[in-house]
Chain length 504, copies 2
């Protein structure tokens, strides 16, 4: 066990069983939305209360080929809200959310920015679901059939998704007789990457993109694979040095305990793991998911994005650890921190560790085909055990689990990334890259202005796409200011567009 | 016969047999390179005399999907010439020709501009062959296998071709340790469309594009479908009113003659058609191909692009007609004109009309899947019989012949075209659109400057990508000037790139 443990311990390996049977485990990069399966918050906003209507569009399976299979279609879901729309006659704008790896309703509910700015812009709101997620499965709309094998799931790719969005938007505008309405695309996380790429590749469809927390540089040979874990480490360290040290010291203790007779039972007891399944790898993954997710969603106000969480969850988790400084036992402290992430409402009596191999499809498929995002842990200072990312580990893992060969260079071939400033300052425009520096994904983001129209908005105190969330009365000033800046920039795009329309 | 005749008479229907068995015939838009199968001019330039070396690159069959089939590879041919290259250490530029619908050697031989400017720019020259042409067939490199059915030929598309080019260029630069060498892409006709689209979609791979005679606007709802035949008409009319009238009056005479007993034999005799096959439709196609091709290649110097031709072939064809003004017989005049196009060397004693249905694959496949370019003939003034282009004719034809459903909106969805000035002035840069106004395809070209860096160079006297041809001592001043302007603009791109490289 110890042999493979060192390769899996940084924690993004869902497949704990596998981690202990193969020599190297692939570390899957994960956005929050691919990590958990959150329940939709129907109280906040939903189809039921009329804030959006769900529709379906007949979408082409394969935009880029012309073999018989490519002509198959599927029903792609999108949500629409025309409450505030100024209408086609006024060429009123259309804001389109580029759906990412999950149910589109969940993203709509966590993108209050669009609902709150729609009245000001008189904007039509559209949220398009990404193929192979939510209710948008090809092959009869059946997830099991669509994800059954590489032949059926093989049509899931970011380029197909972008072409879906272009096709749907153009069709929708035609149907609404709104061909001259400017479209602004919005997205967070992987959806933010799609929004940025969409503006680069389809400038004739969208006049601009708000790409929030979009790590478009988290690819091979672009940024250090250590930024992600370094930022998490820094987040905890910034709250308290003790917190950092307790966490850093815990992994070896877990490993040692797990190897002792009765050790797993001791761990089960310490961490309130239900009598279902336990392994050191699964436990470590469970803990590191809590630590990483809290860092990503380290919002200044209470949130229910991944789980019900207090404001500043990292601080709360460190406080839980620090408050137990009189206690010698590390596991008690670590459990207290994990309990804040997994059980803030206090209703859970025990926890289940993940014991399943993920099916084909979903984020794991994307992470094994094209979204190869190197993540490791630094030898120096990381609160996670050192892990040197290697492409061959990814290849080994993906071949073994999915029988698939990753294409690690495809994303940079298709969308660029190398020397991004030099390239985009001469060939692109109208993109906002927002990043919060407490977000571990910000290390792969665009953090400096590229040109007058491709701008980086950076919030030192911000977390993963915090700008897109519904505002609250407790929002700090910096967050209010950032949203104002974004609104101003988008307003300028639209105003310039109308001017261009008049002058043409 | 008469019923369908009116639909086929404008002449681009290769499938004369079919034209008479279906109600509507699809009018296939054709670039010169898709029309004839020219012999390579080995005297001019070839691999044999060492001016380029042919190499092969292992290319991915399907860049956009991840099903098992997509992982197949094929050998893609490219030609390379490093005679003038300043080398990787100097970041010397790389000029890449984006192969179009034919053998890449043929395009290399007709793109003297690259060979002649390479010494000045110290440029490496690369000519990449388009998949499913020349020697670059998937499925074992065998054209018959690759084009056998829609399952195998289905991977032929412009988006796949562009991704091929990006992949090959990046790999080549890595292999040459020339990652910082600027790439300028060049193309004529469909290759020019690919060059322009490449700069729009892959600005991280190419710093600029010389898109010569690239009718990127010859798509649905962008320009009139009549521009193409109107320009041909104008070409002949500009030489002589009599010439225009003789041609315009000939179609009905051919139709009437063909319907008389012994009429086909009379036509065979008049036009020296070999005792092989004749029909009114095939004869009309043969004549109109000569008229259209001469207009496209109405170069100011003798050429061997499509066939050995004199300088200003349209003028020569009209002179042949006008010189016979004393003769009453229209067919004699028309034959004299056709003889200049088909038999300038004077060696042919009779001519064969095309009697074959084109196989799957090649240009006809592209024209039935995505490159749906509306072409018709105006009721008013066209020297061709009126023909109103209808999408349903295309659909009917392509379904019947290829069992394929065209996607007429795909090109504008993927590459834009609507309001091109408004879009590209805000989102693109570094493209030269050259058009010669005697070229019938110029009607679908970009004829006005879009921005300071996306410029239209228009030559009133020019024909189809005349700027890219080898220079001759007889070149007129306007042509010399145009090439100088292009060189200056490209030099500015490269110079700005080096400046950006220094400043980053």
């Amino acid at each position: 066990m110890a042999t493979s443990f060192q390769f899996t311990i940084i924690g993004f390996c869902l497949f704990s069983l596998l981690c202990f049977t193969i020599t190297f485990a692939y570390v899957i990069p994960r956005f929050p939305s691919s990590m958990l399966h959150p329940a939709l918050d129907v109280n906040l906003l939903s189809a039921q209360n009329g804030l959006y209507t769900a529709k379906f569009f007949t979408q082409t399976l394969d935009h880029f080929n012309y073999n018989p299979q490519s002509y198959q279609t599927f029903q792609q879901r999108y949500l629409i809200n025309d409450t505030y729309w100024g209408g086609a006659k006024n060429n009123a704008p259309i804001f389109v959310y580029m759906g990412n790896e999950g149910d589109i309703e969940w993203f709509a509910q966590n993108t209050g920015f669009m609902f709150e700015t729609a009245p000001y812009f008189k904007a039509l709101l559209v949220f398009i679901e990404h193929r192979y997620y939510g209710k948008s499965f090809p092959f009869g709309g059946n997830e099991e059939v669509a994800d059954a094998n590489t032949t059926t799931v093989g049509y899931m790719s970011s380029t197909q998704a972008l072409a879906d969005y272009a096709t749907l938007i153009i069709d929708l505008k035609n149907n609404l007789s709104a061909t001259d309405s400017p479209v602004v695309v919005v997205g967070g996380s992987y959806g933010g990457m799609l929004a940025a790429w969409f503006r680069m590749k389809y400038p004739h469809v969208a006049i601009g993109a708000l790409a929030s927390s979009a790590p478009i540089l988290q690819f091979l040979d672009l940024v250090s694979p250590y930024t992600y874990t370094d930022i998490i480490t820094q987040d905890y360290k910034s709250e308290s040095e003790n917190c950092y040290k307790v966490i850093k010291g815990s992994w070896k203790q877990i490993e040692d305990t797990a190897q002792k007779p009765g050790g797993l039972e001791q761990l089960r007891k310490s961490f309130r793991i239900c009598k279902h399944y336990i392994s050191a790898g699964a436990l470590v993954y469970w803990l590191q998911m809590a630590l990483g997710s809290a860092a990503m969603t380290d919002y200044p106000t209470p949130s229910v994005f991944l789980a019900p969480l207090p404001a500043y969850p990292v601080r709360k988790m460190c406080e839980a650890i620090d408050n137990l400084s009189a206690v010698n036992e590390t596991f008690t402290k670590l459990y207290a921190a994990a309990n804040i992430f997994y059980n803030y409402t206090g209703t859970a009596t025990c926890f289940f560790l993940d014991n399943t191999t993920a099916p084909l499809g979903g984020w794991d498929w994307q992470a094994c085909t094209e979204l190869i995002m190197p993540l490791g842990a630094n030898n120096e200072g990381s609160m996670f055990p050192p892990y040197k990312w290697k492409l061959r580990d990814v290849e080994f893992y993906c071949k073994r689990v999915y029988h698939i060969q990753p294409r690690p260079h495809w994303i940079t071939t298709e969308f660029g990334g190398h020397d991004i400033k030099r390239v985009l300052k001469r060939s692109g425009s109208n993109i906002i890259f927002f990043n919060g520096l407490r977000d571990p994904w910000s290390g792969g983001g665009v953090l400096k202005n590229i040109s007058e129209t491709i701008v980086a908005i950076v919030a030192k105190e911000g977390a993963h796409h915090v700008d897109l969330r519904f505002s609250t009365t407790e929002d700090p000033e910096w967050l209010k200011d950032i949203r104002k800046r974004e609104i101003k920039i988008i307003a300028n795009w639209i105003s310039q567009y109308y001017q261009d329309l008049l002058n043409q």
